[in-house]
């Protein structure tokens, strides 16, 4: 391997890790909801789209940087998610129906309504937030003059990645150290036992859905400086989140983080060494492989390790 090949490999890995971190943040939101509610929220990508439009308009109207709007959009999305849970999903949960999974179908409907509302309100034009630092980067050769390889690290990608890490760590603290967090985990592990222990399951569901929406909302804001937005963008990210959720093991947060990173790195490596047109194929190959060979996802490996000790 000569220097050029090493450079390509390293640059690919950097890209993969940065992308994986953002994917993980999208995946965590879905996996949280999955764990507590036992339903796949197929409106996940559309919630991200809503947050992106929020960040976009905050920038256009008030000139608020997308990274600052994380602190505005995420709380708003939290309440938006709670409202969806309270007024749309809960009533459906209570109804006896022929299909056991009609809440899932409901989320598909919510997604469609959101996407089409956005089309009506904002037209289907592509939009992006023209931040000044959009294509800035740090270069290895600027710090180390005689470096044999030239690597670059995009400024907005790195900031987005750091934000994703901070949010994930904060979430971990919330889930493991606070009372509410512990109640959420209890609900996810065994709902009946949680009820018997006096956990207000209904409230936990509200908070979880809100939290899931807030997380994907934050991810939306982080995507704005590096990507663009249009009303139909939700579907593609719902799919990504879904693959990560399966890969990580349904309902496992740590699994989702690892799943996100695996998917990001895998996609980047496919793009470089197989061909970028194959990225979607790779995504689903890994999805099917996970279902067949690792039905419990990364979480099952983690669990086995822990039991082994």
């Amino acid at each position: 391997m000569d220097a050029v090949q090493v450079e390509v490999l390293l640059q690919t890995l950097i890209a993969g890790i940065l992308l994986g971190g953002l994917y993980a943040l999208i995946g965590i939101g879905m996996t949280l909801i999955m764990g507590v509610m036992k339903i796949i929220n197929l409106a996940h990508g559309e919630l991200m789209m809503v947050a992106m439009y929020l960040a976009y308009w905050l920038f256009v109207l008030f000139n608020i940087d997308p990274y600052l709007s994380v602190f505005i959009a995420a709380p708003l999305m939290f309440f938006f998610g709670m409202a969806i849970q309270k007024y749309l999903i809960n009533p459906v949960l209570k109804v006896e129906s022929i299909l056991p999974e009609n809440q899932v179908i409901l989320t598909v409907g919510i997604g469609m309504v959101l996407a089409n509302l956005a089309t009506i309100l904002f037209t289907s034009d592509y939009r992006s937030v023209p931040v000044e630092y959009a294509s800035d980067a740090w270069y290895l050769s600027d710090f180390w003059r005689d470096s044999p390889v030239e690597l670059s690290l995009s400024v907005p990608w790195s900031i987005s990645f750091l934000f994703a890490v901070v949010i994930t760590v904060a979430l971990w603290f919330f889930l493991t150290r606070t009372d509410t967090g512990k109640s959420i985990r209890a609900t996810a592990q065994d709902m009946d036992a949680a009820v018997l222990m006096g956990v207000n399951v209904e409230r936990m569901r509200l908070i979880t859905f809100g939290l899931g929406a807030a997380l994907v909302g934050a991810a939306g804001c982080l995507f704005i400086p590096i990507y663009y937005l249009y009303p139909a963008l939700g579907g593609r990210f719902t799919l990504i989140a879904f693959v990560i959720t399966i890969l990580g093991g349904l309902g496992s947060t740590v699994g989702a983080i690892i799943g996100g990173l695996i998917l990001g790195i895998f996609e980047s490596l496919t793009a470089t060494y197989v061909g970028m047109g194959w990225a979607p194929v790779g995504r689903f190959a890994i999805f099917i492989a996970a279902l067949i060979f690792l039905p419990g996802g990364v979480a099952s490996i983690l669990r086995r390790q822990r039991l082994g000790k």
């Binding site: 690919t12 294509s135 670059s152 995009s154 249009y230 470089t272 970028m276």
Partner: protein, 397 residues
């Protein structure tokens, strides 16, 4: 139900009554098939507005041989079978001696077949598929370059200025992207360039850096991309991030040629060249005036489709003024002899390279200079001198 049948019967009768020749004493009426609804409606709308501007100008200047022009737009919904039916009606019932219009290639192809069969000249305005004018049709004329010639200007720019030895081609995995990439591979062979990399990507991708680092390692002289606008902007932004120093970054029309590309890619778009058929800044006579008039009315500059439609009516005017009589045969003869400068460019119908009645024009090359698209090639229409060689990313401020 009965009322329904009655209504249809009445409508039928009515349509029989109002039919008759489209050319009367003091007006000349043209039916124009266009996709006014459906997925291609956006382009149909641009063309309709442009035809209307041309109509008003021609009428204000005294019409065609003293007759006022009246345009009737017929909605083809972008469906070949509908546009075929429209044209059959125009020829058989309205006795219109010349047909023009339609947007897509598939609709234009359907109309061309009818026109040839009925021996009525048809002017193709925007349909670009190569084979429309490769079927030995006598009555079918095309004013826009065929899709293989969309990049003819860029080709000559590469040949005469850049003289590249290697090229990397990135394209989106759609029909449009694939065709564009295939065309460039052929061009590369003709120009003696080696294609070091040809990769497709899924439109809407978030991260192009893996593939771009591979491009970087191949050190191509030219990076040629066929993309829609947002992919184009992301590609250039990430090329800047990775500091890939090719001698030239070239786009194959589409996403690279519209102002949104510069708005989104910002300084990363500087010095990028792109093939295009037409731009609002081009120096063809009347082009700027048309573009400004369109913008003041509809708030946005027209795409090249607009210029094609606008100029098409002027071509028809020119042909009708030169034709001895307004019969299909004489109009065909006059059309064949067309040699007209329009806002879209020079129009002349030639038979060569397997095409019949095809207008061969040099397509334009634009370069982003100081954050604006400037025409740089062919030199006689240039609004600014091209910038070549382009500075390396490291040396840019």
């Amino acid at each position: 139900m009965k009322r329904m049948i009655l209504l249809i019967a009445v409508m039928f009768l009515f349509s029989l009554v109002i039919t008759g020749s489209s050319f009367s004493e003091d007006t000349v009426t043209f039916g124009i098939p266009l996709p006014l609804t459906g997925s291609k409606a956006k382009f149909g709308e641009i063309e309709k507005r442009s035809y209307e501007i041309a109509m008003e100008e021609i009428n204000a200047a005294g019409g065609i041989k003293g007759k006022k022009v009246v345009l009737v737009f017929e909605d083809s919904q972008g469906k070949p079978e509908v546009s075929r039916a429209i044209v059959e009606k125009l020829i058989d019932v309205k006795k219109q001696p010349v047909i023009f219009g339609e947007y897509s290639s598939s609709c234009s192809k359907a109309i061309a077949a009818v026109a040839e069969e009925r021996k009525v000249p048809y002017l193709v305005v925007t349909g670009a598929a190569d084979n429309i004018t490769q079927q030995n049709y006598k009555y079918v004329f095309r004013m826009n370059p065929s899709v293989s010639y969309y990049t003819s200007g860029l080709r000559s720019f590469l040949k005469e200025v850049v003289k590249p030895k290697t090229i990397a081609i990135l394209y989106e995995s759609s029909d449009f992207g694939t065709k564009g990439a295939e065309g460039m591979v052929k061009d590369a062979k003709r120009l003696g360039m080696k294609v070091v990399l040809k990769e497709k990507y899924e439109s809407g991708a978030v991260d192009f850096k893996p593939i771009l680092s591979k491009v970087k390692s191949k050190r191509p002289d030219v990076i040629y991309m066929v993309s829609y606008v947002m992919d184009a902007a992301l590609l250039m932004r990430q090329i800047k991030e990775l500091r890939i120093d090719a001698k030239l970054f070239a786009g194959g029309a589409a996403g690279f040629a519209i102002p949104e590309f510069i708005e989104n890619a910002k300084d990363a778009s500087e010095y990028v060249v792109t093939a295009t058929l037409w731009s609002p800044q081009v120096t063809y006579p009347g082009a700027k005036e048309f573009a400004e008039k369109y913008k003041s009315r509809h708030g946005k500059y027209p795409s090249y489709h607009g210029a094609e439609a606008y100029s098409a009516l002027y071509v028809i005017k020119d042909v009708l003024e030169r034709a001895k009589t307004w019969t299909p045969e004489d109009i065909r003869k006059a059309m064949k002899e067309t040699n007209l400068m329009t806002a879209f460019g020079p129009i002349k119908f030639e038979d060569r390279e397997g095409y019949q009645n095809q207008n061969f024009m040099d397509t334009l090359v634009l370069q982003v200079i100081n954050g604006k698209h400037e025409t740089i090639w062919p030199l006689e229409y240039a609004t600014k001198k091209y910038v070549y060689p382009i500075p390396r990313w490291r040396d840019r401020r």
